[in-house]
Amino acid sequence: MSDALVLNLVLFLPLLGIGLLLLVPADQPTLVRRLTLLVMVVVFVLTLRLYVHFDSTVAGLQFETRLPWIAAWGVHYQVGLDGYNILLVMLTAFLGPLVTASAFTAITKDVKLFYAMVLLIQFAMTGTFLAQDLFLFYVFWETMLIPMFLMIGIWGGERRIYATIKFFLYTAFGSILMLAAVIYLVVSLQDAGGVTSFAFADLVKARLPLDVQAWLLAAFALSFAIKVPMVPLHTWLPDAHVQAPTAGSVILAGVLLKMGTYGFMKLGFPLFPDATHLFTPVLMSLAVLSIVYGACLALVQDDIKKIIAYSSISHLGYVMLGLLSLQLTGIQGAVIQMVSHGLVAAGLFLMVGMIYERCHTRELAAYGGLARLLPVYSVFFMVLTLASVGLPTTSGFTGEFLVLLGAFTGAWPQYLAGDSLPLILAGVAVSGVVLGALYMLRFALTFLFGATKAPQTGAHPLTDLDGREKTILALIVVAVFALGLFPGEPLRKTELAAKNFQQLVTTPRLPAVKP
């Protein structure tokens, strides 16, 4: 089987899985669950094969498929792996089976529709990462909204309708302006060079005037920044996270939030380098603001899901900072941070979901001394907390360290040249690490230690983790340590892409203005 075929299988197997689910009678939820898990595991195994076969010494696309889709507009079905997306595709495929297994006991209503939505979002997310054609990317990008909308709206908490409509309207607003920008970009490329193409490879050659670049980047950046989310466009996230079912939160935190940063890295900055240069101070300030503001908010939350939600805002601020540093270490760190946050936040949301299934409250004050009641649970929780704080040997450390290193390396020459803003921002960003330790340790201390209390209901005795839950968490913990201890191999896979990104963004696309 050729690897290009495997790549298409990875993309389309979830869709095939939906077709299979349709054939299963609705009164057999167990079969539905097992079938979904089987599809997800197969997808992961195939992705693993691609990961192993991926040649890190080759720049550009590998395992590419390119077929005409809407020939008249130059739209192609073009998918492939490169250093930009390989780790994220891997992350998506890794989380798929875990999400599926995590919802086995939590979801009992409309099981078939639920798993169809899990598979659909898996398809759309993988497609967004793999797409190498702007039209295709946009289609996948928007398709993601539909399953998430239903997931929060049908299986969510008490205020699920409000949360899900807010989520949809927020993200759709960004997308609609991005759509205008996409059309404008392609049309101006067509007017300039006579080529009608949506392929990323052609679009990065566009030489647009600075004001056009600035408008287009603003539209793209709005859409991506909502998705990241960057302060002040973050208000949909806490609502969506808190109201979503556990599986929804995991997908949201694990993969969906990476879409924004991936969009900036793959499209936003490389397409409009000159405008990026113009916007860097603003975007960098917002990134640092997200780090600090997200951390401060996480410090005062009473709802355990909200703590993790706000911590996500803070952690993704690092990713943006790393990308904007335009240093190889910073960019590499940003990629690692994306994957690391995907693992750690997903793990934490899974753990919150597990305790919620037992106690039916998300109130932090209702818990205490879980270390004595649920020892296994507490060990896993502590490990993930420390990974979130960024303890050395965990993946969180690798990401944050490289990002900050990149930020300082980039800021120092600018400081010597008389621009002190990047250095100040990098300095402030360090405080995020301290704040991160504060809010996570506050969370863990209240949660695990102190006076023993946990709301118990008669129907659900407070038992420690079962085998399924232990397996899920163990897999995540192994991945967290693997990424923390041996970051060399994944970094090699992304190195050429990071260099490519750096080169695209730092080379001005416009001729120098004549004095």
Partner: protein, 476 residues
Amino acid sequence: MNSATAMTAFTAMMPEHLLLLGMALIIVLEIAGRGARLSLLVALACVGLAAASAAGLALQGYSAAPFAGHFSVQPAALMGKALVLALGLLVLLMSRDEFSGGEFPVLLLASLYGAGLMQSADSFLTLFLGLEILSLPVYVLVMLAYRRPQSAEAALKYLVLGGTASAMFLMGVSLLYGSSAALGIPAGEAMGIRSFVAALGSDDTMARAAAVLVILALFLKAAIVPFHTWAPDAYEGASVPVTAYMAVVVKAAVLLAAVRLFGNAVLASPMLELVAVLPLLSIVWGNLAAMRQPSLRRMVAYSSIAHAGYLFYALLGEPAGRLQATVFYLLAYGLLNLLVFAALPAAADDRERDLLSRLQGLFQRSPFAALMIGIAMLSLAGIPPFPGFVAKFLIFKNVIAAGYTTYAVLGLLGSYLGIYFYLRVIQVMFMGTAQAAPGAPGEASAGTNWAAVASVACLVATLALALFPGWVLARL
């Protein structure tokens, strides 16, 4: 008339002839007392054959002018006819539940005849004739749901405003005749009625007034703000298949005729503002007003006001791309609206059939219907991967390519306003708590098979359109 011209008239008007034949047959059957059983089959067969013949001729690249200066066919016109007839066929399929007699099919066929005539009009006389033949049966069709008090009101409202539109149209045409002394074009011209195209760019007050009146008459027929107020009441008063017919086929016929009328005219100020601003207002107002509607039919009415806005936006694009954009949009829009109406679960009282409160928890009761309506709603909202997105993309791409970026961005922002109420329908169907279906469930089940056929046909066509838009676009 020698045999060659007779042959041309026979071939070129084949779709129309088939419709006429169908009408005659149904009337004869009705007199013979067998109308109840056979008329629908006859109508289905004739419309189907007519659509097939139009499509067949279009694919052959057939063009002829049997009545030079008044009536001619080109592949583009035939494609429009095929589209309108195919959509009409789906309306007929879903009407089985509501009407058992011969009145409905015969009136529908007559109206489709008018729609066909409009697509081939080379002069204002033919266009007017087509417009009237299209509209008159619809006034009666609205009245057919006479058991409900609203239907008389709806029909009257529609009749009066339809009459106003005709009057405006005729006034415009007379002024045009006064200024240019011509009602049509010589045979052989590509497209567009030349005197109208000239009037669009003219500085002469009379010609300009004439063009404005004609455009406003089209706006009234297509329900563009501020000439839209009849639509929600008329749609609500009519029974479901008639609403579908008005929302889909009548709108398609008017829009296609508008594209033909504009021909290759490049719009310039002040006509440009007229054709851009009022549709923009329609997009915004249609989407805003739809948020507050209690029933799906009124919601679709406002949504169709907004969609008429997008469709007129197509005229802002380069002349070469207008027809393709309009036809593709109408195809997607028509299929999706019909999907909504065909999938609506039957009810004893037609009026309550589509109240949003009745759709609460529909997914629990009939998941298939809920999924279909859901897909249609997302697609009408323009969310990929459904065909409504490609259609919208094409129109806005043409508008931006023609250089009207501001209008395009405003239009897109207007379309954003619409997302909320489409989502609301999904929210009601999927996230509402299920309630027992009022009335006996087995009631109208005998006839629902036909509506199911129609909805499956719509769904298959929709999915095909979503997966292979390139294949379809290459053939338009």
